[in-house]
Symmetry: C2
Subunit: 144 residues, 2 copies
Amino acid sequence: MNDKYIVYFISKTKKKMNNFIEGKLKEKALDDLVPSYGNILTVLYDNDGKLSMKEIGQLIGKDKSTITALVNKLSKLGYVKKEKGKEDKRVTYVKITEKGKDIEDKFNDISKEVYSRAYKNFSKEEKEVLLRLLKKLNNNFDLD
Amino acid sequence: MNDKYIVYFISKTKKKMNNFIEGKLKEKALDDLVPSYGNILTVLYDNDGKLSMKEIGQLIGKDKSTITALVNKLSKLGYVKKEKGKEDKRVTYVKITEKGKDIEDKFNDISKEVYSRAYKNFSKEEKEVLLRLLKKLNNNFDLD
DNA sequence: AAAATATAGTTTTAGGTCAAACTATATCAT
DNA sequence: ATGATATAGTTTGACCTAAAACTATATTTT
């Protein structure tokens, strides 16, 4: 087993996690949603149902133009709505709708399923080590 | 630090690795290439410069239609050429060209830079643990 | 041997993602 | 205060990726 597999495994794992989440969304009849939309709903749930476009981008780590595309889609589907800021008119706030709130439980279930699948057969210690080393790996690519 | 960050970190790390490789490709004046093309060249270098489309797909973990697109691009750029199989006419072989061979050294350099950056400040033991746990994580998403 | 099935690859179509150029608004410098 | 700069978002265009439908060839079944 060679060092070079790190890139391969990261990439492969990411794809598998995504596929897993997609499958769960289908199971729960949320088939108009895909994982990236889920990310946005999740950060909204975690932040009183309201965030600016920029904040969403920072929280889910995607480019602002991507956020525009995703939020517009989510808005068209009725899960969120956009609202111009009153103090600062450059800002656009994204607010969760009733329809969006209605599926929060399903999302939490999926989250739990993802993490329990991910950490199957992991001891508490292994979980901590993996997360610590992964964070370190991630930080290594920040230098200059 | 919460369990749920595992998905975020995997995803973030993947993107950063990709950006890093892209930067290196630009540095070395290989700006007509992007990381996914690099993967194909790398597996060709590792396999006597000749593989079928299907084998490439299995080795780099991408769908066959993606392989068609990438190999066609690489072929248009002159780094590889396609050749119909003689025994089995369904098979298409991809062979590396002289131009493709010429940049092998640069690729190996980039590989080394990626791994040494990834494992900066990692002890030998930490490397092994990370790879082992990552592999386990990856396998967990295979179950049924 | 003919029909059914499997396999390799391509085409089509669609979606996520980002960089760059752009618009609108806000803040800063002088 | 006004011109320069910064910031929030959008638009456009490009690329990677994959699913589904399709073509061509090979293998298996009967």
